[in-house]
């Protein structure tokens, strides 16, 4: 199947899996923002999620795992190939269109991977020290767990950094998705780029608001 071997095919897989993750991130933010409604909001939401039938939860998690793996696998493969595409760099570098974000997708991606691993260990498996107390009950007091965590400066800092990384990855990634899928042309491209950046920005602000408001003491447990 050309989708898994060819240059464009693999890019399309990157795009589809990337978009899947974008969808997740959007929904996840919508869900998470129930935190601003106080303990009741987030905890009810969490309970609602956990009470869904097992096949749905499992199916969803497996799908996410596959998406991430495919995205990472081909991301690394393509990046290695591309580094070889121009073995010797120019003495003078004069990029006109490529951006910091587009040139560092693999690194922002790698940081995101680290973040996700950490994030899962923290809030899903609850094995990091500050959430040890919440490990027992599922879902339990999710609100309390989150608030406790973000009182810690380092955790807040890590999250804020991760959100910047996510922002960078998505400013390039979202418009890139449309180009890769062939849903772009010269008329809509500027609009797509702007909208993509805007979505990335909204996600960034939305996500970063949670740790920052908690750390700053605005959102209290």
């Amino acid at each position: 199947m050309q989708l898994f071997t060819s240059s464009i095919g693999r890019k399309i897989l990157m795009a589809i899996t990337g978009l899947g993750m974008v969808m997740f991130v959007i929904v996840h933010l919508l869900g998470n923002s129930s935190i601003f409604a106080g303990p009741g909001g987030l905890n009810t939401y969490a309970e609602h999620l956990h009470s869904m039938p097992l096949p749905i939860i499992a199916g969803f998690r497996i799908a996410m795992l596959v998406f991430i793996c495919v995205h990472i696998w081909f991301g690394i493969q393509l990046t290695i190939e591309n580094r070889g595409g121009r073995p010797q760099q120019y003495a003078v570098k004069a990029c006109q269109k490529a951006s910091f974000a587009s040139e560092n997708m693999i690194w922002t991606g790698a940081l995101l991977l680290l973040f996700i691993v950490y994030h899962l260990l923290q809030f899903t498996f609850r094995v990091t020290p500050e959430v040890a107390g919440f490990a027992g009950q599922m879902p339990g007091n999710v609100f309390g767990m989150v608030v406790t965590s973000f009182k810690n400066f380092f955790i807040t800092f890590i999250y804020a950094g991760a959100m910047v990384t996510l922002f960078l990855h998505l400013t390039h990634g979202i418009q890139s998705f449309f180009q890769t899928m062939g849903w772009s042309n010269d008329c809509v491209q500027p609009g797509i780029t702007k909208t993509g950046t805007l979505v990335a920005l909204i996600l960034f602000l939305g996500y970063v608001a949670i740790p920052l408001t908690i750390f700053a003491g605005i959102l209290k447990g």
Binding site: I8, A91, Q96, K97, A98, S176, Q179, T180
Partner: protein, 251 residues
């Protein structure tokens, strides 16, 4: 006009004897250059001086010197063709530079374009991509009347936009991944837009994209440097169209 005013420039030029030589930069001075010299005429003058002093002139590809054959190929201060909008090196004029400037001149750099000598690279990979399917398989003779199939003007115009590609390879040279997507996208799109090319559209896009990989070009990660480098202003929308054709071709 200021014919009497001349400039002196410092050129730092990539010199490489052949494919196996590691190559290095050499510094030259270009004297007596006017604003009316084209970039290649400036190099001609430098070469005349080099020959007079018994040295090997700098070799570079060129032919038509009017921006259409696609032969000229130099990266000037990091930008393929010198980075002026819609301008090939042969059309670049020295009035874009200032007296006393230092100019770096390098060949196209990409895995698929091995250096032959100095500023000359081997671009036959682009021909290979076209050989993989950049045509309609019509026979000589025995075709329909030119007006038998009507083509709306906007479609014909868009096909022409794509067809303007001169095959210079600046897109590859400018792409950080050394990808040939703009070149290939332009050809695929031109033929996909026209009814005459539709019949083979699916096979064409598959074969041509495979050829890109076989020739050692990188993959596209949508940097859009290629469009900035392209002397004919080929738009990256044609890459999008090729991707679309590719998806269609899978079904």
């Amino acid at each position: 006009m200021s014919d009497h005013k001349t400039m002196t420039l410092t050129l730092i030029v990539w010199r490489q004897k052949n494919a196996n030589d590691p190559g290095k930069f050499e510094t030259y001075t270009a004297k007596g250059i006017t604003e009316h010299h084209s970039f290649l005429e400036m190099l001609d003058c430098v070469n005349e001086d080099l020959i007079h002093s018994g040295k090997d002139p700098i070799v570079f590809d060129h032919d038509c010197r009017e921006g259409i054959c696609g032969m000229c190929s130099q990266v000037i201060n990091g930008a393929p063709h010198g980075g002026q909008d819609r301008t090939t090196v042969c059309q670049l004029h020295m009035r874009k530079f200032k007296d006393g400037d230092t100019i770096y001149i390098e060949p196209w750099r990409a895995r698929a374009f091995p250096i032959i000598k100095d500023l000359i690279v081997d671009r036959s990979a682009l021909d290979k991509i076209v050989q993989a399917g950049g045509y309609t398989s019509c026979h000589t003779g025995g075709v329909a009347d030119g007006n038998a199939i009507l083509i709306p003007k906007p479609v014909a115009d868009e096909a022409m936009d794509a067809a303007e590609c001169v095959g210079c390879g600046a897109c590859v040279a400018g792409c950080p991944n050394g990808a040939a997507m703009l070149f290939t996208g332009a050809k695929v799109s031109q033929l996909a837009l026209l009814p005459q090319g539709r019949a083979e559209a699916a096979a064409r896009v598959k074969n041509m994209s495979n050829a890109m990989t076989e020739c050692g070009f990188g993959n596209c990660t949508n940097h859009y440097e290629c469009q900035a480098a392209c002397p004919k202003g080929i738009n990256v929308k044609f890459i999008a169209r090729m991707n679309r054709e590719f998806i269609k071709a899978q079904f």
